[in-house]
Symmetry: none
Amino acid sequence: MSNYSFNAFIMSSKKFKRDKQEKINLIYNTFFNLILERGYHKTSTNHVAKSAKISIGTIYKYFPKGKEDIIRKYFEDSMETFLDHQDLGNINDENVRDFLNHFVLDLFKNHQENKGYNLAFRSAIQSDKILHNTHKEKIFNIFKDRAEKLQKINENFKQIPEKKLIEVFIFIFNLVNAILYHHLSVMELFDTDDKFVEFLSNLVTFSLKYYLKRDSV
Amino acid sequence: MSNYSFNAFIMSSKKFKRDKQEKINLIYNTFFNLILERGYHKTSTNHVAKSAKISIGTIYKYFPKGKEDIIRKYFEDSMETFLDHQDLGNINDENVRDFLNHFVLDLFKNHQENKGYNLAFRSAIQSDKILHNTHKEKIFNIFKDRAEKLQKINENFKQIPEKKLIEVFIFIFNLVNAILYHHLSVMELFDTDDKFVEFLSNLVTFSLKYYLKRDSV
Amino acid sequence: MSNYSFNAFIMSSKKFKRDKQEKINLIYNTFFNLILERGYHKTSTNHVAKSAKISIGTIYKYFPKGKEDIIRKYFEDSMETFLDHQDLGNINDENVRDFLNHFVLDLFKNHQENKGYNLAFRSAIQSDKILHNTHKEKIFNIFKDRAEKLQKINENFKQIPEKKLIEVFIFIFNLVNAILYHHLSVMELFDTDDKFVEFLSNLVTFSLKYYLKRDSV
Amino acid sequence: MSNYSFNAFIMSSKKFKRDKQEKINLIYNTFFNLILERGYHKTSTNHVAKSAKISIGTIYKYFPKGKEDIIRKYFEDSMETFLDHQDLGNINDENVRDFLNHFVLDLFKNHQENKGYNLAFRSAIQSDKILHNTHKEKIFNIFKDRAEKLQKINENFKQIPEKKLIEVFIFIFNLVNAILYHHLSVMELFDTDDKFVEFLSNLVTFSLKYYLKRDSV
DNA sequence: AATGAATGAGAATTCATTCAT
DNA sequence: TATGAATGAATTCTCATTCAT
């Protein structure tokens, strides 16, 4: 194999992967945008194909079980990378507050961008118990991982039992998600984003204290 | 007319009405229970008919637009009567806390009993924008009514502007609902009901203060 | 049986008959008016009952086979009496023209008043072959009867063979009906009734001559 | 590209198109034949699918609104091409009669071949007011087009106002259609096709003269 | 006789999924 | 690989008809 053709092989493979990922992203975007317009149960795979201007066959090639698969795989993809970019490294007593604000803001932005997905996900878990459980496990594993890392690099967290630390993370995560979902998809709690995020930050601080104090009793 | 036949007349008239309402209730219960098992989008009107052992025609007699109508009418029926039983009469500075606890507990029980409906409702509003808006208006009207009554019978509430009072009611109502839904249908926040309700009560007190203080600045 | 009660019996029987006929007329009118609005195949017996404010059971009491029966019985009733009021007595060479004008005008009015029925009838005979044949036989019998009467009382018609006379009557009747139906229910031929009726009269005269001359060759 | 593969390319492209049109034609034929047997309102899309040995989904792929769409699209297709094949080029005073005979014969054959469609169409316009109006407009446009062409190529028609010419065409067209429909679907006017067509031709000549004379007064 | 709730067969329509090209 | 025609089971919805009251 000549050098040239080897490069061509690499290139084509890369190009292929890029094309493939672009097609998958196209399906994700089209699907979730349609859900935003028409709701989960009125959005069919055929609609998605037509709207994305690809064939229905292509959708089933990447997502052999259709709608459920799209949600499941997006769930895998997004959860996999969601919290990775947050820097836990230099969290300490002084900047916990900043950290929490940042965390809340991040979740807020994430929800805004994934509103369609969140609608889909909540509809899907109604019938897809496996997804529902996987979701719970995934959250547990993510925060277990986080907790372990945090306890390694930060003195302040070492005295708290790992189990407890995971628990409190999950608690805060769920609490914020619950309110975000309702605010964005059911009924607004505040008329501006700023007010809303500020409230959430305060709520998180309060709830964190409450949760930790409660158990120490 | 003998006493017996008079009673028979009463009975037959009552029985007729009861049968109709009982049939409607049967449809409600069957539908929401099936949703609990299989999810909203996998529960068809035919499933409901079969499960309730009535004919599909009967469902469409009472709910001409099928699933959407069941949700819409249950929404009307339940919202109509929901907060009516709570006694606002003797709320005062001393028992605000009790009142809030009671309110939270009530909502909690209501959610537990209406879990299927809540799943259905959140799925339905994804595509039924009219229902979504009616829901918002209904909530506004209910709490407007509440606020007016409260200001008539209680000195403490007279100084707060009515608009403000309505706003804060709706805020608290939404906040609690958001968390209840997530806890019951997405992921538990606490492992026991007691812990959960206690947290909610504290959260409500905190949020109420936050909300009122925020605006007074 | 006392005289009184005998009268009461008569009365109640008459009243009963009147009520019965009124109910039947109500069903006819409601049915044919609905057809005018929505078309035959979108008008159901249930619609008729609701629109006439009577129960569906009542309709099936008088018309056990539903829609088909309404049309069949109206057909019987109306054909039975349709041509009876026309006076054939003094038709002669001088007033044939007048007679034909009168005949055409009569048919025109009849069609205008029975537009809904005519739509229904033409829809019904598509599937109800029995009705279709009965209709043909009825027309034959009516005009056979007419021809016989005419030949008895009028010298001019005696030389024409009875069969021929019946044939020509039916031919003219069908011709006029064809054009009336199209004009009233498909597309107008003239913009005023007067023009239309005048044309029809001339057409009939022409066709009559054509028909008679044709066979004499 | 070899000649063979080029042909294959042409063929495959042609075959694809033919298959699609063939499927549509299959649906048309099956539908209208069933209507001939059972009538419009007793012919369901499911019957058509079963009878044509295709799936119900295929029907809805080509005709998304079912029966109404089949009629609407056949109407478009057939009206589009209906009068196009008639040669107006050398119509003149001597051959007007021949032209009319030809026109009548053409309409007669057309009705014979489209009896099922004509039944369907007359049933459909009872409820489909849009189709009813489109039909009227289409007829106007077709004859407007005809009139314009005729006036360009033929001296004899230049003195008649265009509006008048269109009117008289539509009048004759409707008159013939009215009688054809009645003869074929309600009750026969003549016992042989020849007699019937001859009568129609004479009727058209008569009516044409009547119509033109009437206005010139 | 009159009512209208109830039935369920069947018509209309959608949609996940397959497969030949 | 990609396409999209085709499938048919499942869903929504209608309607003629029955029957208990």
